[in-house]
């Protein structure tokens, strides 16, 4: 992609001081700075990628004098990519001071305080050589966001090892974190020149804003571990977590856990077998809390900045939820660790069942309430899964080492209950939904049955058979969650050469290809470039095709016509390296020299018609899944380098 680059500088300092036999002091300091030149508006309609795809090729990029040409609905993507500034500077510093004090031989107290400060500054400028810049005499933006995290934790730990058999560890402690956010933002336009690109030069300040918020979490915890001859391992956990996000009445949540490990291989009855070199059984039960919602959501609040005619305004922004509580996931798991053939083959398998209660979600309220919705504990969800991992050290001699490993995971997610059974539909551009009895984020829309050869129209499934396609005919048409995912990788080392290959795959996940909704809609008068698929469109009665006619009734709608199988296999990384012989480099006082070349994402096998099956326009949002909307593909990257150690 034109117009992108990245620079990073970092440093780190650790100082430890042993005051006396009992007291130790340690400090950690790390600082990093990076500057990232990006292209404007990824994932937005002003982004380079959507404009590059959608702009019909009849519109030129340059005129005969080499100046940018702005024609038609879409922006000139080359102008946006090369002329506009979009610079992000980020600075992060992490500082910790800890001290531990041995009260008695078996009893240790540790306390640590720290600050984690990160600052992101973004500056953008759209000069008058871009379309939007030209409309406003240049647009400049400056934004800062600062996150300061204060951390303190204290633990008291007791260890006892009795008769070389009983290993006991007990620990109690507390921790506290305060996260304090601040941000400011300003945007100006009407600049005197494209050489003046900072807001200081703007003739007009359009927007200026600053605010912040805070979040605190406080925990008390205890842990007891008992191990008998490394054969039986028992762990109890109990913690009470308190969060400022949760309503005062429910602020602290108790979260117990217990796990058992049993190394069967150590048992007497296993000594007579020769199949297993290791065999361990693990069983666990535990609860996890989630308070990841907005801040102060349990309060009745008014918002500000809702100004009118130069005077300040406030509005009711939120209804209270005094019952807001933690979302809790209870986890049950069992696992087996095995080793065969003298440890050459390791195999691990895990099974789990997670049930999440008091699911925290934004519950949509009817528009007539005046509010879009509010945060509530609205339901229950389960996750069931199996995981397998295999590693084989096939050859491990001095000259030649070869290993292969693979993993496979299956997860089944299901919403068990929702508030009043009320589904949440129409989420995001791909019309994801949260529906009782279904996985999170399923696609809920019209089901397209194909193109009617007599009319050229996409035919929608009339679910209620009333002869009319209405919103009541929407149905579940796909699931963005994969049936299984996994990966295979291998490492080979021969006489100084090393080769590693990492691959991954995903099977059975659906993608809503939202890009096609624009590039194949064939709407007369539309400004979107159309893909070559429309060459196969229906033209006259009798045509058998899966591409509808021009101006078809449903070409523009969100329907299963744009849902595709997103299964893929991808070579994530291939690296080939060579390490120079030691006796050769030692002449130059070097300890190690390695040259290497690597390729990322060299190959993707998929039936998906979009640019990349492994993308989502909405990042990691749990409900807006599997939707491609002019989404930036994972880039293919080639790297070559040399590592030198002195």
């Amino acid at each position: 992609m034109i117009g992108t680059d990245y620079r990073r500088y970092s440093g780190r300092l650790n100082l430890d001081h042993k005051v006396n036999d009992r007291l130790n002091i340690d400090t950690r300091l790390s600082i990093s700075f990076s500057e990232n030149n990006r292209v404007p508006g990824d994932q937005s309609i002003n982004g380079v990628l959507p404009n590059a795809i959608s702009k019909p090729p009849i519109h030129p990029i340059y005129d005969e004098n080499g100046n940018f040409v702005e024609q038609g609905f879409w922006d000139n993507p080359v102008a946006n990519g090369t002329e506009a500034d979009n610079v992000a500077q980020s600075f992060r510093t992490l500082f910790n001071v800890g001290w531990d004090y041995r009260i008695a031989d078996n009893l240790k107290f540790r306390n640590q305080v720290g600050v984690d400060y990160s600052h992101l500054m973004e500056r953008r400028y759209e000069p008058t050589t871009t379309r939007r810049g030209a409309q406003s005499g240049g647009i400049g933006i400056n934004a800062n966001s600062r996150v300061t995290k204060f951390i303190q934790n204290s633990t008291l730990e007791y260890n006892k090892y009795i008769n070389d058999q009983h290993d006991i560890t007990a620990l109690v402690g507390s921790s506290f974190e305060l996260i304090s956010d601040r941000f400011d933002f300003m945007r100006g336009n009407n600049f005197p020149s494209n050489d003046l690109r900072y807001v200081a030069s703007a003739g007009n300040i359009e927007t200026a804003s600053a605010s912040g918020s805070e979040y605190a979490i406080n925990s008390y915890f205890g842990r007891f571990m008992y191990s008998f001859e490394d054969k039986y391992i028992l762990t109890f956990n109990l913690r009470a977590d308190g969060s400022s996000n949760i309503a005062p009445d429910n602020r602290y949540q108790l979260l117990p856990g217990v796990s058992v490990g049993w190394r069967l291989i150590e048992e007497g009855f296993m000594q007579s077998q020769s199949i297993f070199n290791d065999l361990k059984l693990r069983l666990g039960y535990g609860k996890l809390g989630n308070d990841k919602i907005g801040r102060g959501r349990f309060l009745a609040l008014y918002g500000s900045g809702n100004n009118y005619f130069g005077s300040p305004g406030i509005i009711p922004s939120q209804i209270p939820n005094p019952n807001l509580k933690w979302e809790v996931t209870t986890n049950y798991n069992a696992g087996l660790d095995m080793a065969f053939l003298g440890g050459k083959i390791n195999f691990t398998t895990d099974a789990y069942y997670n049930i999440t209660t008091d699911l925290l979600q934004f519950r949509p309220l009817p528009g007539t309430s005046g509010y879009a919705g509010y945060d509530e504990n609205i339901g229950e969800m389960e996750n069931r899964g199996l995981e397998f991992a295999l590693k084989a050290n096939i050859i491990s001699s001095d000259d030649l080492q070869w290993s292969v490993s693979g993993n496979l995971s299956m997860n089944r997610n299901k919403i068990l209950s929702l508030y009043n059974g009320q589904p949440i539909t129409n989420i995001g551009r791909g019309s994801n939904a949260v529906i009782e009895g279904e996985p999170l984020g399923v696609f809920y829309m019209f089901e397209s049955l194909g193109v009617d050869p007599s009319t050229g129209e996409l035919v929608m499934d009339d679910v209620n058979s009333d002869g009319d396609i209405t919103d009541a005919d929407r149905q579940l048409v796909g699931d963005p969650n994969p049936d299984f995912t996994g990966g295979i990788s291998t490492n080979l080392n021969v006489k100084g050469f090393d080769l590693s290959i990492v691959s991954q795959f995903s099977y059975g996940n659906d993608i809503f290809n939202g890009t096609r909704q624009y590039t194949e809609n064939m709407t007369l008068g539309s400004n979107d470039n159309q893909s070559t698929r429309i060459m196969r469109r229906w033209r006259e009665p009798g045509d058998l095709t899966n591409v509808p006619k021009i101006n078809g009734r449903f070409n523009n709608e969100i329907t299963s016509h744009y849902i595709e199988d997103g299964s893929f296999f991808r070579l994530r990384n291939i690296t080939l390296g060579y390490t120079l012989p030691t006796d050769f480099i030692s002449k130059y006082k070097l300890t190690k020299v390695r040259v290497y070349a690597s390729a990322q994402n060299l190959l993707t096998l998929t039936a998906y018609s979009g640019m990349d099956p492994d993308v989502n326009y909405s990042g990691s949002d749990a409900t807006r899944k599997g939707t491609d909307f002019f989404t930036f593909p994972v880039p293919r990257m080639y790297t070559a380098g040399i590592n030198i150690s002195f």
Binding site: S136, G137, L178, L301, Y308, G313, Y374
Partner: protein
């Protein structure tokens, strides 16, 4: 050593007493609702917040565009899928504009209800100030319900603020169309009393003539011709407005013309109205002016070029041109509408070759430098009715009237070739149907 041991124990104890540290402040741009409207300053800010709600894109842009897009003044030519189905008079109930318009109006209604429920309890507010606040809030609520009833038919009537999410509070059924209009009329009439003799303000907030103008419009829609005539004449005669000579100055983003009765005003350091970006041929051009509307203007009509632009055969709405700062205002009502209401209301009471209806109509035509319609051209009630309707279309194009005028005069089906009369109402948004389980929260027929 003993000291150190003590420090250890103390710091542990201190950390145990850290419960209050979880009481962090709400986000710094928020204030607890109970403290929000406690004095005059808070009341003023809350009132501004209601006007701010009227600045929502769904009201100043979407509602306005829909009113011409569903009719014959605008057509969808861009990438907005949900414009196309509105253009074709067959939107789905999941149409984002159908939903946004609904939600934005109820948001304003809820903001206004919050104030109406609080006015009596605020310290340091005089009776006159309280009356003015009540009148403004009731009128703004009436504007919202009027917009809603024109688009969706009878709608749920919220009279008090929503304070929680219980079913009793959240679930609400639809009122009949008649009851919705009666509710609007009551709000406007109470406001009229509260503002009696208060006179004219600055045209960016609701004042006495605004209320009268809205009553004139309401009675026009309800075909109470004598009331419509009386209110329209009162606005025309009593408040010093004039039909300004320069038609284009009405749409000047920065100066308020003496023709504006009430507009939602945008300043460039506040919210934005992106309507120019959407409609100008040099902007995103999502909706074009139709060739049909381009052709209704006579060559010498001063309104022609101000209303419809022509960029090499690409016709576009030219009334909103604030592309640089997005400060185009939303004109809620202006004087020439009152002239046209007076003309129509008089003609509907019976044709008279010498009636005032000609005078009111011709004042509007005269400003556009068109010759008057005479009783030789409009020789009966029907032909005068046609002239007035055409003049309304020319004068008020792209100002949010066309679709509603066609529907209220029973012309929509024939003019726009809509076979199914149920499509004259928009669908209730699917999100409302899905979340509001009141038995009387019904979908409109054929959606």
């Amino acid at each position: 050593m003993k000291n150190l041991t003590n420090i250890v124990i103390y710091s542990f104890i201190i950390s145990l007493f850290s419960c209050e540290i979880l009481d962090v402040e709400p986000p710094f741009d928020r204030v607890l609702a109970e403290n929000a409207i406690s004095d005059k300053r808070g009341l003023d800010a809350a009132i501004n917040g209601v006007y701010d709600g009227m600045q929502s894109g769904a009201i100043v842009l979407d509602y306005l565009v829909i009113s011409d897009l569903a009719a014959d003044n605008l057509e969808a030519v861009g990438s907005k899928i949900d414009y196309i189905t509105i253009n074709n008079n067959d939107p789905f109930s999941t149409n984002i504009y159908v939903e946004a318009v609904w939600n934005a109006h109820y948001d304003v209604i809820n903001r206004a209800n919050n104030i109406l429920g609080n006015i009596g309890t605020i310290e340091g507010v005089s009776e006159a100030e309280a009356n003015r606040a009540e009148a403004e809030m009731r009128t703004i609520r009436a504007i919202c319900y009027f917009n809603l009833v024109r688009m969706y038919g009878g709608v749920p009537l919220r009279e008090t603020a929503v304070s929680g999410a219980s079913e009793q509070e959240i679930f609400i059924g639809r009122a009949s169309e008649t009851d919705t209009y009666a509710f609007i009329q009551n709000d406007l009439e109470v406001s009229e009393n509260l503002l009696e003799a208060a006179g004219r303000g600055n045209s960016v907030r609701i004042d006495e003539p605004t209320v009268k103008a809205l009553l004139a419009r309401l009675h026009l829609y309800r075909q109470n011709w004598t009331d419509a005539e009386a209110y329209a004449k009162s606005v025309i005669n009593e408040f010093g407005y004039e039909l300004v000579e320069d038609y284009s100055s009405i749409f000047d983003e920065t100066n308020i013309s003496n023709e504006i009765i009430f507009q939602i005003d945008f300043l460039n350091d506040d919210d934005v109205n992106t309507i120019a970006r959407w409609l100008l041929a040099s902007g995103r051009y999502e909706a074009a002016a139709t060739e049909d509307v381009y052709n209704i203007y006579d060559n010498q009509d001063l309104r022609a070029a101000v209303s419809v632009g022509n960029a090499g055969g690409d016709f576009f709405c030219n009334k909103y041109t604030g592309l640089q700062n997005d400060v185009d205002n939303l004109i809620v009502t202006r004087l020439s509408e009152m002239y046209l209401i007076a003309a129509e209301a008089i003609n509907e009471q019976g044709y008279d070759a010498n009636s005032e209806a000609f005078d009111f109509l011709n004042e509007v035509r005269d400003r556009a430098e068109l010759s008057g319609i005479t009783n030789l051209e409009a020789t009966d009630q029907a032909s005068l009715r046609e002239e007035i309707a055409l003049e309304r279309r020319k004068e008020l194009a792209f100002e949010g009237h066309r679709w509603h005028d066609l529907v209220r005069t029973n012309q929509a089906q024939t003019e726009l070739e809509i076979d199914n009369p149920n499509k004259l109402l928009f669908p209730i948004p699917q999100s409302e149907i899905d979340t509001n389980k009141h038995p009387e929260m019904t979908q409109n027929d054929d959606y």
